[in-house]
Symmetry: C2
Subunit: 323 residues, 2 copies
DNA sequence: ATGAAAGCGCTAACAC
DNA sequence: GTGTTAGCGCTTTCAT
């Protein structure tokens, strides 16, 4: 059995409360006793039981992060940034993957409840109603989706989509296809609306599609059939899959069709052709989300909305429209 | 405040122990009372506090999974498989990323302690000695590394490396470069030893290298300088970076040099040329690790060693040696 | 500066 | 079948 506070108290000849103080309010205890306690603790390999501590304090100093698909390269930078940032605030973040399953997502939220002080919901697949209901159990901040009355971190894909389409239009493309993601996706909706607001180009909407390489691969046929020479894909994974699919059909990128992705994931920077993309500030979003969450944990939940700007990174997958 | 067991007891006119039983041993309570309790619980939105429960039972029904770099595509399938498998056993797994930092790794282990029943250490960067010491605090199973006296899941990279080199040799390559990973890597060592045991080829050892695309990119110069026409890279990421670096120098793959990776990550299946690679059974390893951990949690820790076979997947990045 | 005692939410004997 | 009583490991008044 691991040593408990009692063992340390006994070994150092003081009462448990003194041991407790030594760890949570060292300044309140006589340096001499403190050293004795510390020595005994060291000796026994004692570490405070965080779960037990949480039971009395109501604070676990843990944060949970729930993500739909950990294998999407978009998330790791967000996760890492969140973890690193939380650490500076003396918090740990534990991650769980829902595998895109709303039911699993709900279960995970419940499993996390009471073991964390708050939850980061990244691109949640749950309905707004469910999210609002679950909210009573544990503080949330939602990333990449708008849920009213809740702290939220958004990345301005609408702006990014606009940039991308202007870039394509500037290159002479007159017919542009938009490949959307999963049907309920907030991001897709934003992109669609932003695209619809631009003028001077012919828009065709394709999808819905799986937000993966497979989804992009599958969309290749539709794209060629659409007659579009420019494509804005739901995300980089889709864009890369699409490029592959186009390649298989003998369509060259960017000579025949230009494609731009969204996210700016690492593989897109190393693929051939290197992907032109709307860069999402994933790391900044992770940090911001932690900040909002900690703040909301502290004050009981102000519904701040943070919107982060996006930018366009032009690389090799876009070029002049064919004549 | 969320409802506690006491509230439910009060609301349903029974004692807390009865409420407790309705949740942890329903068959021991009269169906009638049970329903009354359940109704009250439902009504108050009560859910047992898992942390408090753990305090008395000693079982959290959580598992922790610690990984060096969550952005390496090798891990997500392992993580997902572990999670899914654990769920069937009524366990949840929470993930943390050490960012390749041993110090962070140790901190995370300590943070997890007492909040999980056991830990999955994937490709740990800690020294064996530290791992053995920390082991007293929480049960481990180690994946992708040999630590004596501890439950371990290994993938037989040695065998895979042999396969890869034979494949290359069969293609006529006489000079083969081996790009190793981080200096302390167990995997690198296995590969090196297996390679050294093969005959009939000229081996050159390159590295150590970062286990990432950047590492591969950086190794391109060494590879061309080495005069090798065949390369076995530490992992797929390195292989892909290398191919990119080779491409930048005008070296064609596989026409001029053949490269094989290790892992069989998804991006490698979609890159150009599609990567020939040693497939690691990541999902199976995840499931196996959970099994071993749960078993070791149950019986106090038998040090089973599971070694999973690897195989060679030949795709497009390898071809006949140039004349 | 330290001790005593109550209690966080829950389970687990042990009675009845 | 259900209530009673401890107690898990820790923090936190309140005394002293």
């Amino acid at each position: 059995m691991a040593a408990t506070i009692k063992d340390v108290a006994q070994a150092s000849g003081v009462h448990v409360s003194t041991v407790s103080r030594t760890f949570s309010a060292p300044h309140l205890v006589n340096p001499e006793t403190r050293n004795r306690v510390l020595a005994a603790a060291e000796d026994l390999g004692y570490r405070p039981n965080r779960a037990a501590r949480a039971l009395t304090t109501g604070r676990t100093h843990n944060l949970g992060l729930i993500v739909a698909d950990i294998s999407n390269p978009f998330f790791p930078p967000l996760i890492k940034a969140a973890q690193a940032h939380a650490r500076t605030r003396d918090y740990y973040v534990f991650v769980a993957d829902t595998d895109e399953d709303p039911q699993v997502e709900e279960e995970l939220i419940k499993a996390f409840t009471k073991q964390v002080d708050g939850l980061l919901l990244c691109s949640p697949r749950l309905s707004n109603r469910t999210i609002e209901r679950l909210r009573a159990e544990v503080p949330f901040v939602v990333v990449n989706r708008e849920v009213k009355g809740m702290p939220t971190v958004l990345m301005d894909v609408g702006q990014g989509a606009r940039l991308a389409i202007e870039h394509l239009a500037g290159l002479g493309h007159r017919r542009i296809a938009l490949i959307s993601g999963p049907s309920g996706s907030w991001t897709s909706k934003q992109m669609r609306e932003a695209a619809a607001a631009t003028s001077g180009v012919d828009l065709v909407f394709l999808g819905p599609n799986a937000p993966t390489e497979q989804g992009g691969l599958a969309a290749a046929a539709e794209v060629t059939a659409s007659g579009a020479t420019g494509v804005l894909a739901y995300n980089d994974l889709v864009a890369m899959g699409l490029i592959e699919g186009l390649h298989e059909r003998g369509v060259r990128v960017p000579a025949d069709v230009s494609v731009v992705g969204v996210d700016d994931i690492v593989p897109g920077r190393l693929s051939r052709p290197k992907l032109t993309t709307v860069a999402m500030p994933a790391a900044a979003a992770g940090r911001m989300a932690v900040d909002l969450l900690l703040q909301s944990v502290g004050d009981g939940g102000t519904a701040t909305l943070a919107t982060l700007a996006t930018s366009l990174v032009v690389r090799e997958s876009t070029g002049p429209a064919p004549l």
